[in-house]
């Protein structure tokens, strides 16, 4: 071990002396390698940032990886089973969905059916055994949206991004005027249409006066509002919330291993309602797409890196050719052959490492500049951090290039006969 340490330190000292003696050559090698390492760093950084962005978007709509989700046919009994079982628990949240209209009473909403505000899903229809006929009514200023009633803070399962205002507070006494948190599409709708604060929900005892407390990005393209279940049920019976005739939604989000899942499943099965449960695996779903994309870009970066390796190889061979006497002399004073190879490899490895450091530095600076310039218009690049994986990839690329570029010159150096010093 001691001997190995001495040899390693010897090759490091001699390698550094060699680099200092040939600064220009080292710089030229670095330049030839720089683009290749930079390409690897940029590809890895881009892939990591894209992966994080894709994953963040998927988490917004599907939830964090590992979250258990249970869906079932909406019914009054199912809603009661879910709300009574999950009430007051921190490991499970029930989401009950229903349509509501906020605005002038008795008028058709500007987006019938709760469509995105710039899309037209056609007029609302009233259907019976004779067919469907459009529902008539006067036009006015009202917005239809999906109302999602929550039994607890769902953000531990779905990382909504708070855009403005406050999220729902589940620790306070329920308010009589339901507090709503809008998603981006709903906020856009209310930004365009100034409507009176009156909310109609099918089956409610009265029209209620909602209060908007904040806006979140939930990744949903439809206008949606989140509300505390206990505030909504002041006005609306739970049975109406889960009414399949009013497009009711019923969903349970849980931590993995939560006992709620088993209890709810048993109760629902007893009622003849077979639930469907699954685990969110967003990362796995996007992996195939990202792997293919990454392979294509890495292949391109690899080609550029190979050109850099050829540069190191070329300079390395020329340098060894110039240092024949030095290496022969080193052998004469007892330096083993493999240490001579080690000296050359140390020089090319250090060159690769210095290049990697330069490429990483340029990438970090470049990312900061891009973030500053286009960050305001591109949320993906706002305050984006340089991914450490890209740094690691750059260092590995530098080291691999150093080994590949230095291997043949190292073999040459090890093969130089000592007799060279006698013949000189």
């Amino acid at each position: 071990m001691r001997r190995f340490s001495g040899r390693f330190r010897s090759s490091l000292i001699i390698g550094l002396q060699g680099i200092r003696a040939r600064k220009l050559r080292t710089l030229l090698s670095m330049i030839s390698l720089f683009l290749g390492v930079l390409a690897v760093v940029v590809v890895q950084a881009g892939a990591s940032i894209a992966e994080r962005a894709l994953l963040a978007d998927l988490e917004l709509t599907a939830g964090y990886d590992g979250t258990r989700v249970m869906e079932m046919q909406a019914s009054q009994q199912a809603a009661e089973v879910l709300t009574t079982t999950a009430k007051g628990r921190s490991d499970a949240v029930v989401m009950l969905g229903i349509n509501g209209i906020v605005g002038e009473p008795g008028v058709l909403p500007v987006n019938p059916g709760g469509s995105p505000i710039d899309e037209d899903w056609g007029p609302p229809m009233n259907c019976d055994e004779n067919g469907c006929v459009p529902i008539g009514g006067p036009e006015g200023e009202a917005v239809e949206l999906r109302l999602t009633a929550l039994t607890g803070d769902v953000r531990k399962f779905r990382p909504f991004r708070q855009e403005s205002g406050r999220w729902l507070d589940f620790t306070t006494v329920p308010a009589l005027a339901p507090r709503l948190v809008l998603n981006m599409e709903a906020a856009k709708a209310f930004d365009r249409h100034h409507v009176p604060a009156e909310m109609r929900v099918g089956g409610a005892a009265n029209n209620v006066t909602p209060r908007f407390t904040g806006v979140v990005d939930d990744g949903d393209g439809q206008p949606r509002a989140y509300v505390r279940l206990d505030e909504l049920t002041n006005w609306l019976p739970t049975s109406k919330l889960a009414d399949p005739n009013t497009s009711g939604e019923l969903r349970l989000m849980m931590t993995a291993g939560s006992p709620v899942e088993q209890v709810v499943t048993s109760k629902l099965k007893a009622m003849g309602n077979e639930p469907y449960a699954f685990t969110v695996e967003s990362r796995k779903e996007q992996e195939k797409t990202l792997t293919l994309m990454r392979l294509v870009f890495f292949a391109m970066a690899g080609l550029v890196l190979l050109i850099g390796v050829a540069g190191i190889l070329n300079v390395g061979l020329a340098t060894v050719g110039e240092r024949v006497e030095e290496f022969a002399l080193r052998r004469a004073v007892g330096t083993p052959r493999f240490l001579l190879a080690g000296i050359v490899l140390v020089e090319t490895l250090l060159t690769g490492l210095f290049t990697a450091a330069a490429a990483i530095g340029v990438s970090v600076a470049g990312l900061r500049v891009v973030s500053m310039i286009v960050g305001s218009s591109e949320p993906l690049l706002r305050d984006v951090q340089f991914p450490w994986e890209a740094g690691v990839a750059g260092i590995i690329a530098g080291l691999v290039a150093g080994v590949l570029g230095g291997f043949v010159p190292a073999l040459r150096a090890a093969g130089i006969p000592i007799a060279t010093v006698m013949r000189a």
Partner: protein, 231 residues
């Protein structure tokens, strides 16, 4: 009588790869004791450097016996030969082979930073300065070879050979590129090493320098003969 440092007997070296194989060394025998100085003289192409290569373990003899400190080393693998070169031998060549980008001290330290054992920086510095003092140029430790005269450069090369306290110094025409006066100083430096028990084998054309050695051998057509009359 002490054990011989070097004991060659029947050493033969044939140069192959030509139409006619050429015998460079033909049954050479030579014994060197600690503190003894030996000059080998001969015409160009007589095999002097080849003999030195065999003695310094740069090359292997085709046949014969080579005892170093009583151990047979004629067929040594390269790794062990490198270790012995480092521990037993110091080499001085006609050309000084100093690395231009290193200072005199760093050039001397080169023999210590060779992967054969590790010498901490402070220890390295002490040994390098001692070696430079032995050859009288400690004051030039920080100078680069390009700023030194030929004699000074050769003394740096001798310091490099001495820094590991070798048992044998092998000098191949060390004064060949120097004027007479400087050459004499270099021979003085080499001979001073023999006073500390180091054996010296000097290959030279210069009869005056050869005369200062304890013994002189003539190498003629690969055959080594001791010159009795020269004593």
């Amino acid at each position: 009588m002490t054990t011989a440092l070097i004991e060659l007997s029947g050493i033969t070296k044939v140069l192959k790869g030509q139409e006619q194989p050429r015998t460079i060394l033909d049954g050479v025998g030579l014994t060197v004791h600690p503190g003894e100085s030996v000059a080998i003289v001969g015409r160009s192409g007589s095999g002097k450097s080849t003999l030195l290569s065999v003695i310094g373990l740069f090359d292997r003899p085709d046949s014969g016996s080579y005892l170093l400190d009583g151990q047979e080393i004629a067929r040594l693998p390269e790794r062990r030969a490198a270790r012995l070169r480092s521990s037993h031998f110091g080499f001085v060549f006609q050309r000084f082979f100093l690395l231009k980008h290193l200072t005199a001290a760093q050039n001397v330290a080169m023999a210590l930073v060779n992967g054969q054992g590790w010498h901490p920086r402070r220890q390295r510095r002490t040994r390098v300065m001692e070696a430079l003092e032995q050859v009288g140029i400690a004051h030039l430790a920080k100078n680069r070879p390009t700023k030194m005269s030929g004699g000074e450069q050769q003394r740096v090369a001798i310091a490099r050979a001495l820094v590991r306290d070798p048992k044998v110094l092998l000098a191949d025409e060390p004064t060949g590129a120097l004027d007479t006066e400087t050459g004499t100083l270099v021979i003085d430096a080499l001979l001073s090493a023999t006073q500390r028990g180091c054996g010296l084998i000097l290959v030279t054309h210069d009869r005056d320098h050869a005369a200062r050695m304890g013994r002189t051998h003539d190498l003629i057509d690969g055959v080594l003969n001791e010159r009795v009359a020269a004593r």
